[in-house]
Symmetry: C2
Subunit: 237 residues, 2 copies
DNA sequence: TTGCAAAACTTGTATATACAAATTATAATC
DNA sequence: GATTATAATTTGTATATACAAGTTTTGCAA
C-alpha cells in the first residue's frame, strides 16, 4: 500500500470509524485536505471518490463532503471479503470446521462454471462455520489447481485467501455473486445445524484474479435465520 | 447527460452489450480511444473506470482493458433501479397492483427509520408485482410527504421514481440495503401468491437524495423461489 | 433591519504533462 | 532456432491549470 491516494483514503476511513468525523459533518474542503496531506487536489479527489463509492461520504457540489451514517447497519457482508477477515473485524465467537480438502478432475458442470479444460484439476474444499456454538454456514470452494498448487487442511482452517495473496503472491481482484434461496440438501443436514428449517440461502461466487482469470467458484450456504446481506448502491444515470 | 465521460461510458456500454466487443477482447488503448472520441486521455480514463466499477471490463496494466463476460448472470437486480426500469429492461410479462396510497403521521418505528420529527407526514404505498401471472413481490414504500408532496394511484401504477426525478426534478442518489429472510405475514398471504412457502426474502432499502437527505424507506418482500440477487464486487485493499 | 447583489468558497469537468510499472513486440546475439 | 536484451506500447500515479456550477458568506443599499 504505497499509493498516496490509498493511504489517504484509509486514513480518512479510520478517522470516520473512530468518530473524529460524525455523521452529518462535512470533511475539510479538498483544498484544505490537499494542504493537510501535502498533496495535490486531484489526489485528494481520488481518495474522496473512493470514500463516496464505499458509502462513507456524500459529495455535494458547492457544499462539501458530508459524512454518512455508518451505524445504520453494523457490518458489511457484501464486497469481496474472506470469512477470516470478517470474523477478525467483528470479533465474535467464530470457529471453522474443515471437512474435506482434496484434488479431483472436474466434471462437466464444474468445468463450465470455472470454464477450463478437462485436463485441469480442481481443489474441493468443504468447511462449515460455527457462530456462537451453532454451525450456520457451509462453504464449498472449488479452486483451480493449476493456479493454486498446494492446499492443506491447515491452510483451509486458517484462511485460503491469506495463503493465496500473501504466500503465493496472487492478486484477488473481483467477483460476480448470485444470491438465491434453495431447498436444504442431505449435505446441509450433515454439516449444518439446520434444525426445523427447510431452506437455505445460497451465495454463489465466481472469483477472479487481477489479470481477469477465473480461479475460484464458491457456494456459501447459510441458515436463513442467521443470514444478512448489506449493500451500498449508487444510482447510475 | 451532457458530460463527455458519461456519454463515452454509455457509448462503450452499448457497444459491449451489442457484441461489438466480445468477452476476452481488449478495448482500444486509452490513447486510441482519446483520439476516436477526440478528447483527453484523462477523460477516457474516467469512462473506463466506470466500466470497471460496473463489471464491464478489467483493466490490466501494460496489457489493456479486457472485456468481461456479461452473460454469466442475465440481469442485474442489484444497484438502485426501479421496478419499472427493470421490467422495461427485461421486457417480460410484468404487472403492478396498487393496493394503498395514503398519507399518515409516522409512528415511532417509522420515524426512527426515516429519522424525521413527529410533525412530518409519511406517504404509505403498497403494491404487489405480478410476473407471468403470479404475484411474487410485495413492495411497501414509506416516503416523506414534505419532500414528495403529491402522490396518486396513477403515479404508483406507473413509476414513482420517474415522477420524483422527471416531474419533481429531485435527484435520487444512493441507497443502503439489507437482505434477510423472514416469516410470512398475514399481509403477505393477502397480497402475494405465497402458496406453500412459509418464508419470504425481505429487502429493506433506505434511499437518499443527492444532498444526502433520507426521503424513502422501502420494504420489498419476495417469494423465495422467485428471488434472485446478483452483485459485482471488487476487493478493497 | 431587511433584501439583494457581489464576492468567496467548494466541488465538477476537461485538459496537459511527466514519470512509473507492467506487458508486448522487436532486434540482436549466440 | 532459441534466448536475451532493448524498445515500444499500455495502464497507473501525481501534479498543475482553467473554467463551470452550486452554495455560503459578505457587504452594500434601501
Amino acid at each position: 500500500m504505497k499509493n498516496k491516494y490509498l493511504i489517504i483514503y484509509n486514513d480518512l476511513v479510520q478517522m470516520i470509524r473512530k468518530g473524529e468525523f460524525m455523521s452529518g459533518d462535512t470533511l475539510p474542503s479538498e483544498h484544505d485536505l490537499s494542504q493537510q496531506f501535502s498533496t495535490s487536489r486531484e489526489t485528494i479527489r481520488k481518495s474522496l471518490n473512493l470514500l463516496s463509492q464505499n458509502g462513507y461520504i456524500q459529495k455535494v457540489r458547492g457544499k462539501g463532503s458530508v459524512v454518512l451514517d455508518q451505524n445504520k447497519f453494523e457490518f458489511p457482508v457484501s464486497g469481496l471479503t474472506s470469512f477470516k477477515e470478517l470474523s477478525d473485524q467483528l470479533g465474535q465467537d467464530f470457529k471453522t470446521h474443515v471437512h474435506e480438502v482434496f484434488v479431483e478432475t472436474a466434471d462437466n458442470r464444474l468445468r463450465s462454471r470455472l470454464n477450463c479444460h478437462s485436463s485441469v484439476k480442481i481443489w474441493k474444499v468443504s468447511r462449515s462455520r460455527e457462530i456462537n456454538g451453532e454451525r450456520v454456514i457451509l462453504d464449498k470452494d472449488y479452486i483451480r489447481e493449476d493456479i493454486v498448487p498446494n492446499l492443506t487442511k491447515s491452510v483451509a482452517q486458517h484462511s485460503i485467501y491469506d495463503y493465496i495473496e500473501n504466500e503465493l503472491g496472487l492478486d484477488i481482484s473481483f467477483a460476480k455473486k448470485e444470491i438465491v434461496v434453495e431447498q436444504v440438501t442431505e449435505e446441509d443436514r450433515k454439516y449444518l445445524d439446520v434444525e426445523e428449517h427447510s431452506q437455505v440461502v445460497v451465495i454463489r461466487s465466481y472469483v477472479y484474479l487481477a489479470d481477469a482469470t477465473l480461479f475460484q467458484f464458491t457456494e456459501s450456504r447459510h441458515r436463513p435465520d442467521k443470514f444478512q446481506f448489506v449493500d451500498f448502491a449508487r444510482r447510475t444515470k
